[in-house]
Amino acid sequence: MIDDLPLWLSILVSVLVVGGALLTMAGCFGMVRLQNFYLRIHAPTMGTSMGGGLILLASAIYFTITRDRLIVHEMIIFLFVTVTTPVTLMLLARATLFRDRIEGNDGVPKRINGDQQ
């Protein structure tokens, strides 16, 4: 760890990191508490949108101030994660819909163009 820090920086980074961790934990907590798959699919997006965003922002601010130059490469992780998570969730949701329809489970909407089954 570093020896000396301005007080405002440590408070700002602390608030951002703890807030982001709390949001991420809330999402993963939802993974345990929610009853079915379609509800649970909303849980990880909290970690990838705002939870992750706050923690990466804290990292960017911390390294920019302590290294005395602009460090924004956390932005790449943020962009990558926010763009790819919807893709994986959509693929997973479509796979689940497909499997639920084949198994004939209740509570699943029929295929929208209807001629497949």
């Binding site: 760890m1 993974m31 345990v32 649970r40 990292s59 302590t66 490469h73 990558f80 693929l91 499997r99």
Partner: protein, 93 residues
């Protein structure tokens, strides 16, 4: 003083993220179906990435950044492959 604040808040954040990892692990173990496990694995990847970022701030080094990015990349590819496998029964068409 300010170092102590940062130290304890990072510790708290890492504790929260560890609980989040345990929650996703619990869902991954009990399932009940394959898609639930894959969803939990995807969330686990993201939480591990964030844990590495906090570790980077804590140790004041940027080495963990590359690791975090690598986890993000592998997590994406892995989850897509698994989701495709659920849909078609094969990964490469």
């Amino acid at each position: 003083m300010s170092v102590a604040i940062l130290h304890w808040s990072l510790l708290a954040a890492q504790f929260l993220l560890s609980i989040a990892m345990l929650a996703t692990l619990y869902r991954m173990v009990i399932g009940p179906r394959a898609q639930d496990r894959i969803l939990a694995l995807d969330a686990l990847y993201v939480v591990a990435l964030l844990l590495l970022i906090t570790l980077g701030i804590r140790t004041n080094s940027q080495v963990y950044f590359e690791l975090a990015m690598l986890i993000g990349l592998l997590g994406f590819v892995g989850t897509v492959a698994l989701a495709k496998f659920l849909m078609r029964g094969e990964v490469i068409e």
